[in-house]
């Protein structure tokens, strides 16, 4: 079960054991990610961060993770500065970057871009989001946060709310949580409910998720509330966006009905789906979740580049 040289394009590329291996190593990386300890685990290694779409958390946390692990980054952070604008194919960009680095992190607006990059690169490729497709490191850090904050994933009641149709993080998170035996509820207006394909996949895995549109109905039983932003940019038709924008809001009034130790998560950025007053509660874990991107990505980078923590 070696990770060295492996591409991580989709969370489906990983077995349950491999996911656990990443999460266990991420736990060990926490003091290094916080800067309390230092390591040279990836000393001399170069990571190519190729971001063809805007990103704040993912790009910065990969850069932070690589730096904390003792390695260095080269990057395309603005596609306008790259040869893509001159008409170069992604395949050629990847073949070129392959010669400059030890691993490639790719965010791209087109679905399947990371799989294509993996095809053309001899170095490990990590998908950092391809259009409305996969974003496996987000899934890993979400799993890590749930395990860290809720104690485990098995048997936990996880409620996902918001844009479950276009939100790329929720599909693979739902599939991964099913693998670990979580109990799933999907709350969304019918226009934005979890795609049938994902629900069918879960059923095949023996998980029957509950689908509803009313958050108040299910909040009392939840152990984890995973909130997502309704993303304007994923709507082909702006009038469809207007119909559903702002239909869920988590605030302290709603939380009166919730368990005391409810874990609230959000992949960020948020707009108005979580009221700022919630930030002050013990339940708000979304900034911890954002931090967890660093130890989880440190773990994954170390595994695919063959670094070992002493």
């Amino acid at each position: 079960m070696t990770f060295k040289g492996m591409d991580v394009v989709s969370v489906r590329d990983l077995s349950r054991e491999q996911i656990e291996q990443v999460l266990d190593l991420a736990q060990k990386m926490v003091p290094y990610a916080k800067g309390e300890k230092t390591t040279k685990i990836l000393d001399g290694k170069i990571l190519a961060n190729l971001f063809f779409e805007p990103s704040t958390r993912t790009r910065l946390s990969f850069e932070s993770a690589m730096t904390r692990a003792g390695g260095r980054c080269i990057e395309i952070a603005q596609p306008l500065t790259s040869s893509t604008v001159k008409g170069e194919t992604l395949a050629d960009t990847i073949r070129m970057v392959d010669g400059y680095s030890d691993a490639i992190v790719l965010r791209h607006p087109h679905e399947g871009a990371a799989r294509l990059a993996a095809h053309f690169s001899s170095k490990p490729v990590i998908n950092a989001g391809d259009g409305a497709g996969q974003h496996p490191t987000q899934t890993l850090l979400d799993l890590f946060t749930i395990r860290q904050q809720a104690g485990s994933m098995a048997g936990k009641k996880v409620v996902m709310v918001g844009d479950l149709k276009y939100g790329r993080t929720v599909h693979s998170l739902a599939e991964a949580l099913a693998m670990f035996g979580a109990d799933l509820t999907f709350v969304a207006p019918s226009l934005l409910q979890m795609p049938k394909e994902t629900v069918k996949h879960l059923e095949k895995e023996g998980i029957s998720a509950r689908l509803c549109s009313n958050l108040e109905e299910v909040i009392a039983d939840a152990d984890v509330l995973y909130v997502t932003r309704i993303q304007r940019e994923r709507f082909p038709d702006p009038s469809e966006y207007q119909k559903v924008a702002g239909c869920y809001r988590v605030d302290n009034v709603l939380l009166r009905e919730a368990k005391k130790n409810l874990v609230i998560m959000h992949p960020l950025p948020r707009v108005d789906e979580i009221a700022p007053e919630v930030d002050e509660t013990e339940n708000a874990k979304y900034f911890v979740q954002a931090f967890n991107g660093v130890p989880v990505r440190m773990a994954l980078l170390s595994l695919v580049m063959g670094g070992e923590l002493q």
Binding site: T89, L90, A91, H110, E111, G112, L116, D130, E197
Partner: protein
Amino acid sequence: MKDFRVTPIRNGTVIDHIDCGQALKVLRIIGVTGDVTSTVSVLMRVPSKRDGWKDVVKVEDRELDPREVDKISLIAPKATINIIRDFNVSEKYNVNMPDVVKGIVKCGNPNCITNKNEPVEPQFIVESKDPVVLRCFYCDRIQEDFADRLV
């Protein structure tokens, strides 16, 4: 009343046991678009001992290449191919849908990287053969109405 019969062919191919209603798509796959130089016979909704009803296509002076057979397997997975030489069936085989379909269907997701001028052939994993379910290897999307996107 006089029966209309499709006469035996000397040389060519009979594609039998095509799923009912798929004959015209089979014609498109084998490039029969109206401008033909040999006889083409199309039988639609004829009784079949095996399947109840079926379509049949006969083309004279023509044998199929493996790529065409792979395409036919996607829309008519129960079809049989009979190669006729000098009025005799010289070869007969069932179409066999591959586990991975490469370069014969375009992905239906316009945002898929395979639709963006990259130097790759579209590739699909056959998730199920009955009914036929194809998943794009690159963008993971399950394909709907792929018969319209055969290339």
